[in-house]
Symmetry: C2
Subunit: 245 residues, 2 copies
DNA sequence: TAGTTCGACTGGTATAGACAACTAGTTATA
DNA sequence: TATAACTAGTTGTCTATACCAGTCGAACTA
């Protein structure tokens, strides 16, 4: 009797039994990272159940981050996490280098827009004021790791343009504008990838992601920027070191 | 023409159109927190589509944290987040009080077990060594907020028992055992609620959660405890304040 | 009155099948 | 040879239906 046999008359749902069977094979190392698992139709036939039931099991495992689906190709075992330290104002670039990965960044979008709601209040400007907004993807070894959207008050960083953003923003702010960066606050929450994010990051819609909002402030207390980052939950964890206060 | 009308011949999937329609009604405030939304059968009839298609839309919104389902009762608009500060070694209790909520804690389980893998290496003890393991639920105003599992090396905290755990563990460690707590490291990652966790926390299986592992160390460098917490993603976000290094 | 049963509602599980959309390799064609 | 068409595989979307399992209140019963 095979241990991963399913029992149609068990009180446990069939889709759940299949979930556990697949999860077990992954944890036992029978299915390796990146490997393609049997197709939905194959499972349906093998266990003599409906393909929709198999889909339910696989959908759950995709949502749990165990598997990823690729239309027309198949379903694959997902990657494990790598770790990112979050101590002080560390940068993605430094973190990736310390890990032996080659970091890069790609500007997706740069535009002027009107501040609204959270963005306006976060930057301490009236709703409707002009903000500079740009979106970047951070990559490590060419693999997309995070999607970053930055908002800056256009009034505060006059003269900023697309080229500068692709260079060193903080250097420009401190040396050219004579502003002094003081501290930052980060908000961290667990979320799930939405449509656009999942496409850009190459993960499944609904995958767990870390949503981080960073507010950076100047020494005079004025907010400088608001950065919202979406980090892939399948690739990252953050660590925080704390001394007892 | 109603704006939330769905179009069967649109290139966008029907389930997606329904998702957006429901999400829109929530964001516009037409559906309030905790309110019950129309039943799956009602949607199916209203839009003249299959109930399974409606289910697919609602399942996605449940996974995205917009809705929660209760068998036999209905589907409800989920709650928004509240915020938790994570500065230094803050405690859940203090955080909740500062927020005007009444914190409490419930011991679910207390037992001796054998350290394995991550637990053993995290506590710096050999695999198979005895550890004290206990599980607690943290509540705010009687609502379960987090599930905490703690591991302590049995060798290090001799004399510890269930009663002490329900009192002040750190006080016992420092005053009775003469050990001095130094610092802690936290790992934070986005995940999804598994079966047991979702039941205890009263959230849907697959909901986003924050998984936090805290390693506490003594001044002599020995690891004292390993605490794994699962925080509800629908109720929490964490904030980290950082001074520039 | 107190307790039980029943019915009508809710979401949960499962079926069998259909067609669309996408991928990749093979085969036929200009 | 290069291109186009075909084919067999994959996941994606959707249908129409069936029955199970909780919930809750109304109607019935002791």
């Amino acid at each position: 009797m095979k241990t991963d046999m399913i029992d149609k008359y068990s009180p446990l749902p069939i889709y759940y039994q299949i979930e556990e069977a697949i999860k077990g094979r992954i944890e036992k190392g029978e299915l390796l990272e990146g490997e393609m698992i049997p197709s939905e139709r194959e499972y349906a036939e093998a266990y003599e159940i409906s393909r929709m039931t198999v889909r339910q099991a696989i959908t759950n495992l995709v949502n749990d981050g165990y598997l990823t689906r690729r239309k027309g190709k198949g379903t694959f075992v997902a990657n494990k996490k790598i770790e990112q330290k979050l101590v002080g104002l560390t940068s993605f670039t430094e973190d990736m280098k310390a890990r032996g990965l080659s970091p890069s960044i790609k500007l997706l979008d740069y535009k002027l827009s009107e501040a609204q709601g959270k963005t306006a209040s976060g930057l301490g400007i009236p709703s409707g004021a002009t903000v500079i907004e740009f979106q970047r993807v951070r990559l490590a070894d060419q693999i997309p790791m995070a999607l970053e959207t930055t908002f800056l008050s256009a009034d505060l960083v006059r003269g900023l343009n697309e080229k500068i953003v692709q260079g060193s923003l903080y250097q420009y702010v401190e040396e050219e504008l004579g502003l002094s960066i003081d501290y930052a606050t980060q908000e961290l929450e667990a979320s799930v990838a939405r449509e656009t994010e999942s496409e850009i990051l190459g993960i499944a819609k609904g995958s767990p992601v870390l949503l981080i909002r960073r507010y950076t402030y100047l020494t005079d207390g004025r907010p400088l920027e608001l950065v919202q980052s979406i980090y892939r939950g399948d690739r990252y964890k953050f660590t925080i070191d704390m001394q007892r206060g």
